[in-house]
Every structure is written in structure tokens, then in C-alpha cells.
């Protein structure tokens, strides 16, 4: 690629473009196909929600973007991850290390274990700043106090010297967010950051990230299994199932013109305030398929209420539905 075309790429292309990403794990029982050729793109300043059940490859695909998959047993078998005109899968480990934290940052699910118990919270945030921003200890400390203030931790000058066990779960997650945002990344990957927190704290954390996103203008990828959470906050949604993206599109399209039976099932299983007390929650029967022996047809076949025999013959590809990028992988989306 010459200079010209790479410059052009930076101007026109999205911040992140993933094509045909495939991640596998080689285990004793066989090869686990965790992510099976997913493709999508994310623009600067966009918020993307990635939803799906447990074990459908949401976190694995995020870790693949960061190249934090353990190899072995893991393996990124195929695909390209273009970030700002560079294919992350072709970078050396050292280049990748410089990029992690500075350009792409991540917030993890469990705030209880994602801070190192033997260091103060401030020390751990300072570390990221000194690593990427060339700050000395004093500057890093000042910036850390600012950051803790930004994420809404009271009395940051005092709390900076606290150990993680002196923080509550919500505060720890705030500290993790402060750490992730410390180097002003262009993309923040939030891997179920509110799952381990109770509902009121959940709302606070979501508000916090949304406000920070507006202020700093970064892109956010919000991974969750809760369609209710993402409805209010994201621009686009990827619905994942068994390592495939089975429906993607703008949030309004997904909610108002739901096409895939699985997405319908997910939306239907959300409890609603309007329902009469005693109404049974609707659930999707069955379990996701075994990722070692993937079915050759539609992965959702076994649980689908609209299935036909031909659905198990061949796997449906993502098919564009409208000009706004709404796409669905179902043979029968026109009929149902």
C-alpha cells in the first residue's frame, strides 16, 4: 500500500473495520469455534452495542480486537481488524502493546478482581499515564486526581491513596473507567461493565460513560446481554449468536423492525412494567448450540419457532435490509 492510498483510507474509512474475524480455541474436547467470521465497522464517536446470550462470542471478539486472546489454546484463525488504517492482526506484539490503553482501552466485567489488591488505586491509574503519556509521577498524580474527580469519586485527593478493598463495587468500576480513559483512547470497549453491579449503580455507570463519551468524543463498544440497557444509549447494535452476527443495524431499526427470530425472542423476554402482575416471562426455549460441533445450517435452527427444513441445510448470510445498514441472517425474514 503506498502513502497516498493509506492517507485516503484514514479520511474515508471508519475507525474500526472488522472483516471475517474468526477466533477458535483448541481444547481437549475439540476446536471451539467462538467467533465465526464476523464483519462490521464502527465510526469515530459512534456507540455500538453488542448483545447476545452468555457464550455467544461477545467477549472473545472484543479480546480478539485487543489481541488479548491466550495463544495457545486460542487462535485468531482468519480475518482482518482495521483500526485507523492499520491491520491490528499484522502488528508486532510491541506495536500492539503501545496501542493498547492509548488507542483502545477496555473496561472489564468484574470490578472486584480487575484492580490489583496490593497497590493503591491511584498508583494503578498513574501507571497507565506514565506508560503512555510520558508523564512523571507528579504530573500523573495530578492527572489521576482529575480523572477520579471526572468519574465522580468524592474527595479524590484522599481516595487516590486508598487500596481497592476500601472501594465499593461501583467505585471500583469508576476507578477502572478512569484507568481506561486515562490516555484518552479513541475506542473504549466496555465488556459487560455493569453486570456485577446492582441496578442503581448500573444506571450511574451508564450515565457516566455516556457523559464522558460526549465530552471526549470517543467511540464506545458496549458489550452486554441486556437489550434493555443498550436501547437508550447506543447508535448501532450487533446481535450475536453462536459466534455469528445474526442481525445488525441502527438501534431504532432493531427495536422497531425486528427481523431475526432470535432478536425477537430476546426483546420478548424483557420484563415490562406495563404487563399485569403474574404474567409469565417469555423465554427462548433450549440452549445455544455446542460451539465445538456447529450445525451446518442456521445456528438458531434448533430453537427457532419459524424454522423450515431448508433452514438446516445451509447457513444464512447477513443480508442487507435497508440503506441504513440493517442486515439480518435469516432465510425467512421476509415472511415472518
Amino acid at each position: 500500500m503506498d502513502m497516498n492510498s493509506s492517507a485516503q483510507q484514514n479520511n474515508n474509512l471508519p475507525l474500526l473495520r472488522i472483516s471475517n474475524l474468526q477466533t477458535r480455541f483448541h481444547t481437549q474436547d475439540g476446536v471451539v469455534h467462538a467467533v465465526n467470521g464476523i464483519s462490521y465497522s464502527l465510526d469515530s464517536g459512534e456507540i455500538l452495542g453488542v448483545v447476545g446470550e452468555s457464550g455467544c462470542g461477545k467477549s472473545v471478539h472484543a479480546l480478539s480486537i485487543m489481541r488479548l486472546i491466550q495463544i495457545p489454546p486460542g487462535e485468531i484463525a482468519d480475518g482482518e481488524i482495521w483500526f485507523e488504517g492499520r491491520d491490528l492482526l499484522k502488528l508486532s506484539e510491541n506495536e500492539m502493546r503501545r496501542l493498547r490503553g492509548r488507542d483502545i482501552a477496555m473496561v472489564f466485567q468484574d470490578p472486584m478482581t480487575s484492580l490489583n489488591p496490593v497497590y493503591t488505586v491511584g498508583f494503578q491509574i498513574c501507571e497507565a499515564l506514565m506508560l503512555h503519556m510520558n508523564m512523571n509521577r507528579k504530573q500523573a498524580r495530578e492527572r489521576t486526581i482529575e480523572l477520579l474527580n471526572l468519574v465522580g469519586i468524592p474527595e479524590p485527593t484522599k481516595r487516590i491513596d486508598n487500596y481497592p478493598h476500601q472501594f465499593s463495587g461501583g467505585m471500583r468500576q469508576r476507578a477502572m473507567i478512569a484507568m481506561a480513559l486515562s490516555c484518552e483512547p479513541k475506542l473504549l470497549i466496555a465488556d459487560e461493565p455493569t453486570t456485577a453491579l446492582d441496578v442503581t449503580i448500573q444506571a450511574q455507570i451508564i450515565d457516566l460513560v455516556m457523559n464522558l463519551q460526549k465530552e471526549m468524543g470517543m467511540s464506545v463498544m458496549w458489550i452486554t446481554h441486556d437489550l434493555g440497557i443498550v436501547a437508550e444509549m447506543v447508535h448501532k447494535i450487533n446481535v450475536m449468536y453462536a459466534g455469528f452476527i445474526i442481525e445488525q443495524g441502527l438501534v431504532d431499526d432493531i427495536y422497531d423492525e425486528t427481523l431475526h427470530p432470535y432478536t425477537k425472542g430476546l426483546l420478548g423476554s424483557l420484563p415490562s412494567i406495563d404487563e399485569a402482575p403474574g404474567t409469565k416471562l417469555i423465554s427462548i426455549p433450549g440452549l445455544p448450540p455446542d460451539l465445538i460441533t456447529l450445525p451446518s445450517g442456521c445456528p438458531f435452527y434448533a430453537r427457532c419457532t419459524y424454522r423450515r427444513d431448508y433452514c438446516r441445510e445451509e447457513r444464512p448470510e447477513l443480508e442487507s435490509v435497508n440503506a441504513n445498514g440493517h442486515a439480518v441472517a435469516c432465510w425467512r425474514w421476509r415472511e415472518i
Binding site: 485487543m66 488479548l68 491466550q70 495463544i71 495457545p72 506484539e93 510491541n94 502493546r97 503501545r98 496501542l99 493498547r100 490503553g101 492509548r102 482501552a105 477496555m106 472489564f108 466485567q109 468484574d110 478482581t113 480487575s114 484492580l115 490489583n116 489488591p117 496490593v118 497497590y119 501507571e127 497507565a128 506508560l131 503512555h132 474527580n149 471526572l150 468519574v151 465522580g152 468524592p154 474527595e155 491513596d161 486508598n162 487500596y163 478493598h165 476500601q166 472501594f167 465499593s168 461501583g170 467505585m171 477502572m176 484507568m179 481506561a180 486515562s182 490516555c183 450511574q204 450515565d207 457516566l208 457523559n211
Partner: protein, 410 residues
């Protein structure tokens, strides 16, 4: 800045306990534990008397002889046989046992501490690396360092056979070259192996030829093998399992027997004893460190530190090491008791300290023959010293385990 939290929450979230560090917390738990304090007191007494005696109470074992006062019973008053008071009695050469027990403490504790340091440092580092690279692959620099070390280690064999130490360095360079050219002929592994084998054969054989044709032949064959081994780039997993299998091999020998064999090979002496006991202890620490690293590396904060772009060394020494210190400190304290006991055993067999140097085990070995003639004091006091020092370290180790156990934390 935008106000994101309500006033109420400020209040609830601020109700946290006072600021205390991990070690201060552990120390408080330790001093509230009576048996641990007893252990600490015993250990402190032994350490202080041994250090005090060594520096402020001169003792020359080579001139300490008094045949007129041999095998005197303990006494606290002056008797007609000797003008000196012998609190613990005297031994077969008329030496004051109290003095020798106190000075023996210096030697016994020194053996214990140095032996444990040897096993702790070597075993700890091996276990740390083995555990860390079990699930992480080596990067270029680590690959180069390890392959060079492997070359150095393997090269020691032909260097020893041909008595040409520089050969080991040649093989180290071969290893380094192999790592630097890891992509060279990566698709033709067999050809690469043969090429490195031939280079290894030349490196081993030519210096060997200068000594004798037969030596040259043997070294060439060995060198060929080393070349083939070095040609294959090592992965983190391979390094880890190789290290741990070596540890298993050491563990498969009964530890006392192995220590005796090493001392028999090196020759008796306090320093040789330290090396032997230290070597035997290496696998214990390696396994402990590895298992601790394996469990800590699963923690999310290790992933989090990776995700902010920290290097292997930083993750290993900044994030993993402090979190595995507690079990290692406990094991080292317990290990001190073990090492003192092993040192005493070697001394008793005449393989540790060389007479007339005072050492508890050696004192027992010197005097047990006189038990039948009624000189119980000559074995009782060194025996008690061994017993109490071991007890002290064990109690302290137990207390430390309770104090440092992270499960007791919030």
C-alpha cells in the same frame, strides 16, 4: 464538571474503614496471635544470641581444649574440678557446651538461611517464569535470552568433556543466532535442524580435536545433538514444562539422600552443606511459585494491566509477584526449620560442619557415644537447641500463614 452522583450516595460511599496497608494489616493479625508471638520470640532469641555471640563473644574452637574438665555435669556453682562455671556442662574435650551451643547457633542458622535463600531465589524465579510463560508466549528478546541460556547450559557438556570452557560460549552464541534467525528457513524445519546440527558439530568437534581425536568425535556427536535442539524455537509452554519436569526429577530423589550425595560429591564443609540443602529445596519453591502464578494470572487485573499495554516484565514483577508473596514467605519460614534440621542431620553424619567448628548436629554426632556413660548433657542441650529453633520457625510460619491468608481479608 458534570455532577453525576447524588448527595446521599456521597454519604454512603464514604463510610469506609481507615486506611491500612496490606502488610500493616498482616502484622496486626500476627501480633494478636499468641502462638505466633511465641514462635517469633523463640526465633528472635536464637537470632539475637547467635548474632551477639558471633560479634561480641569471641570464640576460637581450635584452641578450646581442656582435658582436665572433660564431661563435667552442668553446674551453676564453682566446683573443684574446674574454676569456670559450666552452665550446660562440658563435652569430651572439656569444651563448654553452653558456649558451643550459642556459637553453634550462628552456624546452624546461617546454614538454614543461606540454604533457604538459594532454593528460594533459584526455585522462585524458575517457578515464576514457568508459571507465567505457561499461558503467555515468549517475545523476541525473551526467546533470545532463553535460547542463549539453553545453549550455554547444553554447551557445558562438550566444554567439560574437552576441558575447553570457551566452547560453552560458542554454543551460547549458536543459541542466540538461532533465536535471532527464528524466521530463517521457518518453512523448512528439517533442513534448518540439519544446518544447525552441522554448525553444532563443528563447534563441538573442532576444539575437541585439539585435545584428542576421540574427544573430538564425542564432542562432535554431542554438538550435533545440541545444534538440533537449538534449531527449534522454544515456546513458552515448552519452557514451562521442561523446567517443571527437571524439578520433578529432582523431587523424585529422597531429599536427604540427594543432599548427602551432593555433599559426598563436593566434600564436607558448612558451605557445601548449604549448597546441598539449598539445591534439594529448589523444586518446592518452584512448584509453589508456579502454582501461585497460575492462579494469579487468571485474575482480571492481570488482563486489565495487559489491556493498558504493560510489558511482560512489568506485569510479572509489578502485578504478579506482590500477589504471590504471602505463600512464599510462609513456605520460606517453614523451610528455614526444615533446612536447620537438614543441616543438623548432615552435621550429625559428619558431612556438614567440619570439627572443631561448633554446629548443633555435629555436636550431637560427637557426643552421642557418651550417653551410655551418663553424659546426657552433651547431647541434651544441642538437641534442645535444634528442637526449639525448629519449633520457633514452625510456629512463626503457622502464624504468618494465618496473618497473610488473603481469605481472611474482606
Amino acid at each position: 464538571m458534570t455532577e453525576l452522583i447524588s448527595e446521599d450516595q456521597l454519604l454512603t460511599e464514604f463510610a469506609v474503614r481507615e486506611h491500612r496497608s496490606l502488610w500493616l494489616d498482616a502484622w496486626r493479625r500476627l501480633i494478636s496471635n499468641r502462638t505466633a508471638m511465641l514462635g517469633l520470640a523463640i526465633v528472635a532469641i536464637f537470632l539475637l544470641t547467635a548474632i551477639g555471640a558471633h560479634f561480641f563473644w569471641e570464640y576460637d574452637p581450635t584452641v578450646d581444649l581442656d582435658y582436665n574438665a572433660k564431661l563435667l555435669a552442668p553446674t551453676i556453682v564453682r566446683s573443684d574440678q574446674s574454676e569456670k562455671i559450666h552452665l550446660f556442662g562440658t563435652d569430651k574435650l572439656g569444651r563448654d557446651i553452653f558456649r558451643r551451643v550459642v556459637h553453634g547457633g550462628w552456624n546452624s542458622l546461617r546454614v538454614g538461611i543461606i540454604a533457604v535463600s538459594i532454593s528460594l531465589i533459584v526455585g522462585g524465579i524458575l517457578g515464576l517464569l514457568a508459571g507465567f510463560f505457561e499461558s503467555t508466549d515468549l517475545n523476541g528478546v525473551e526467546q533470545a535470552v532463553l535460547t542463549s541460556l539453553l545453549g550455554l547450559g547444553c554447551g557445558a557438556l562438550p566444554a567439560w568433556i574437552a576441558n575447553q570452557p570457551f566452547q560453552a560460549l560458542l554454543f551460547m552464541l549458536l543459541g542466540l543466532g538461532s533465536a535471532l534467525m527464528s524466521t530463517f528457513m521457518a518453512h523448512r524445519q528439517n533442513l534448518r535442524k540439519v544446518l544447525f546440527g552441522v554448525i553444532g558439530m563443528a563447534l563441538g568437534g573442532l576444539p575437541g580435536l585439539m585435545v584428542a581425536p576421540l574427544v573430538g568425535l564425542v564432542c562432535a556427536v554431542v554438538g550435533f545433538g545440541i545444534g538440533i535442539i537449538l534449531a527449534k524455537p522454544i515456546s513458552g509452554k515448552a519452557f514451562s514444562s521442561f523446567t517443571m519436569r527437571v524439578m520433578d526429577i529432582i523431587l523424585s530423589f529422597p531429599s536427604y539422600l540427594l543432599a548427602i550425595a551432593i555433599v559426598a560429591f563436593l566434600g564436607p564443609g558448612l558451605e557445601k552443606g548449604m549448597i546441598a540443602i539449598g539445591f534439594v529445596g529448589i523444586p518446592v519453591y518452584a512448584r509453589l511459585a508456579r502454582s501461585a502464578v497460575l492462579s494469579v494470572s487468571q485474575k482480571e487485573y492481570v488482563l486489565a494491566s495487559q489491556s493498558i499495554g504493560e510489558s511482560h516484565g512489568r506485569i510479572l514483577f509489578r502485578h504478579i509477584v506482590p500477589n504471590i508473596l504471602s505463600p512464599i514467605i510462609v513456605q520460606a519460614t517453614m523451610g528455614l526449620a526444615d533446612a536447620i534440621l537438614s543441616a543438623a542431620a548432615l552435621g550429625f553424619l559428619g558431612l556438614g560442619a567440619v570439627p572443631p567448628i561448633p554446629e548443633w548436629g555435629a555436636m550431637l554426632g560427637d557426643s552421642y557415644k557418651y550417653l551410655s556413660s551418663g553424659a546426657w548433657w552433651a547431647v541434651l542441650f544441642p538437641g534442645l537447641a535444634i528442637m526449639f529453633s525448629v519449633l520457633g520457625f514452625n510456629l512463626l510460619g503457622d502464624g504468618l500463614r494465618d496473618a497473610l491468608d488473603p481469605k481472611m481479608r474482606l
